[in-house]
């Protein structure tokens, strides 16, 4: 039986000020799987992520979330999308004026102010325990390491039980052990809670650990879109050079 798709795009063209960055994107993110978007720096991975999370309207094409088209001009439609997703930003994007408890509780405090303080604290504590930061609940973001900030940001992204978490370069700037820990965490969340992940990265080790499906972007187009094991048999020279390490991507572009 085919797995249900939670995010789909149809002939999507994304970019800034009518300048396309990537065109003809037909993506299908399947529920309960980790889809990795990869490509060289500046290829449009983060731009795609911005469109998928509703922050950047596409130049053309359509984004569907759980079968419903996202209307980028409708505040109501965007709010519906925001309620069902969580986002892990590259630098964590925790508010520096709030401690971890307040940061992670922010979506609850603002959207559900009637939830009592002790319940809210319990919800935050549970999430922080899942990411291994429970003892640091009262610390401020500036007092945490890069890896801790990202784990805290993941806890915030999960706090309202989103169906999909979209991550922008979660391993960037982290040492291999910390990055591995974050990957483990995502795999656990996928297995235990059935959360769907869309992960933008170019870390090969991380892709190898977590990817179920892969989307490869290069030179403004999709060069591979499918299950991770099929990457090995992809005939695309860029995919080969990028992934199978047969030379560098730069060399490929010049042949």
């Amino acid at each position: 039986m085919a797995e249900a798709e939670i995010i789909t795009t149809h002939d999507l063209c994304i970019g800034y000020l009518d300048t396309p960055v990537v065109s003809h994107i037909d993506l299908a993110v399947k529920k309960g799987r980790i889809t990795v978007v990869l490509g060289q720096s500046g290829c449009g991975k983060s731009t795609l992520l911005k469109t998928l999370i509703g922050l950047l309207p596409p130049i053309s094409g359509r984004v569907d979330f759980d079968g419903q088209a996202v209307d980028f001009s409708s505040e109501h439609s965007l709010q519906r999308l925001f309620r069902r997703i969580g986002v892990l930003y590259q630098n964590g994007a925790l508010l520096n004026s709030l401690n971890l408890l307040e940061n992670i509780a922010l979506p609850i405090t603002m959207h559900h102010p009637t939830i009592p303080d002790n319940i809210r604290t319990e919800m935050v504590y549970n999430r922080l325990r899942q990411v291994g930061l429970a003892p640091d609940m009262s610390r401020y973001p500036s007092e945490l390491s890069g890896g801790m900030r990202k784990r805290a940001a993941l806890a915030r992204a999960m706090i309202l039980d989103p169906e999909v978490i979209l991550c922008d370069e979660p391993s960037a700037g982290l040492d291999p052990i910390t990055a591995g820990g974050l990957d483990e965490l995502m795999l656990n969340l996928k297995e235990l809670l059935g959360i769907t992940f869309v992960v933008v990265t170019h870390e090969l080790r991380s892709i190898d650990r977590i990817a179920d499906d892969v989307l490869v972007i290069h030179s403004g187009e999709i060069r591979f879109n499918g299950p991770y094991p099929q990457l090995e048999i992809s005939p695309d020279p860029f995919v080969k050079s990028f992934f199978l390490k047969q030379g560098t991507a730069i060399e490929e572009t010049q042949t």
Binding site: F82, Y89, N91, A93, L95, L106, I250
Partner: protein
């Protein structure tokens, strides 16, 4: 008829320390005619040589290269980064009348939105982070009162000193009280408080919001389903509305006291006489007029600072530029509005 081709035989050293000779060779080329660069004699090539060829390619659409060795061809490709994303030259110019109009429109939209958000907050008390108004009031009020007092005291002293000598010459010492009281309450305190708030509060709002934008915190708020403009601006607008009356009242007392001190020391006017004379001219309406002006200045500072903060684009550099622009914009708007107020009540 065959088109004439401009053939240039390049020297053996297409490098930085030979750039004068190369420039001489390339100078005076006709842009309407094709150019052929003969690389056959080139022995050494560096990034300067490559840059010159690249520049020539931009100015002469029909540029041909002959006799280039595989090694130099490879160097050209590596230096020019073929395959790497090129900067978009079709981006609009950084500054244009169209952009200015667009920015002005955005400013007005933000202002209208913010006052609507404040109105909705006052009606339903939702959408503002708990304790944030108190926190902002502390930063704006407690954080600014000392500098506002020092500056307005010194302005009061300076105005009184400047006027006292002239008034003493005419035996009109007592009118120093009218001049200081009226001038401080209606004009100088609102203006000085506005300028100080623009520098202290405005700059801090812009820097904070711009940094949040650069660090994707504003995006994060949005994807949490929060309206960043409402979340960040409403507490500040309410806080400045509460801080201004306190600051203005305090500044009026301190500024006038500075004038009183000068009156006592240099014009022999007792505190009591100064006070009684001042009350013959200054009334509650003047105080409310000055207060109203400062409230408007305060809101303009918060809106323009927020506007600059939200429109930041270029990382840390952009934060610095936005902060400077916000102070300049706020002070300019304060002075323009002050002139309009003066004209209105003339």
């Amino acid at each position: 008829m065959t088109q004439k081709i401009q053939r240039i035989r390049l020297p053996d050293r297409l490098v930085l320390d030979n750039h004068g000779e190369i420039l001489n060779l390339l100078r005076g080329l006709d842009q309407s005619l094709p150019v052929e660069l003969d690389f056959s004699g080139v022995d050494r090539l560096d990034s300067t040589g490559v840059a010159m060829v690249c520049h020539l390619r931009k100015t002469h659409s029909d540029l041909r290269i002959t006799g280039i060795s595989p090694h130099h061809k490879r160097m050209m490709e590596v230096f020019t980064g073929s395959g790497a994303p090129q900067p978009d030259s079709s981006m609009p110019a950084a500054s244009s009348p169209h952009k200015g109009m667009h920015a002005f429109k955005q400013f007005l939209i933000l202002m209208a939105d913010e006052f609507a958000h404040v109105g909705r907050f006052l009606a339903n008390r939702r959408g503002v982070y708990p304790g944030e108004i108190r926190h902002q009031l502390y930063l704006m009020g407690y954080g600014s009162y000392l500098i506002v007092c020092v500056i307005t005291f010194l302005v009061g002293v300076t105005i009184a000193l400047t006027s006292a000598k002239q008034l003493n010459n005419f035996g009109a010492n007592i009118y120093l009280a009218d001049l200081v009281g009226f001038g401080m309450i209606r004009e100088l305190v609102p203006l000085m408080a506005g300028i100080i708030l623009a520098g202290k509060v405005g700059a801090s709002i812009t820097a904070e919001i711009a940094s949040m934008k650069v660090l994707e915190e504003v995006d994060a708020l949005q994807t949490m389903g929060l309206n960043p403009e409402k979340f960040l601006m409403v507490p500040r607008l309410i806080a400045i509305g509460l801080a201004v009356p306190l600051l203005v009242t305090l500044a009026n007392f301190v500024g006038i006291f500075g004038g009183m001190l000068v009156g006592k020391l240099f014009s022999g006017i007792s505190f009591k006489a100064f006070y009684q004379e001042m009350l013959t001219i200054v009334n509650l309406g003047d105080y409310l007029f000055g207060l109203g002006k400062t409230m408007v200045f305060g809101w303009v500072i918060v809106i323009s600072s927020g506007f600059k903060g939200f429109s930041v684009t270029r990382g840390a550099l952009g934060v610095g530029i936005a902060t400077t622009e916000s102070v300049v914009l706020s002070i300019s708007l304060i002075i323009i509005l002050d002139s309009l107020f003066a004209l209105l009540v003339y």
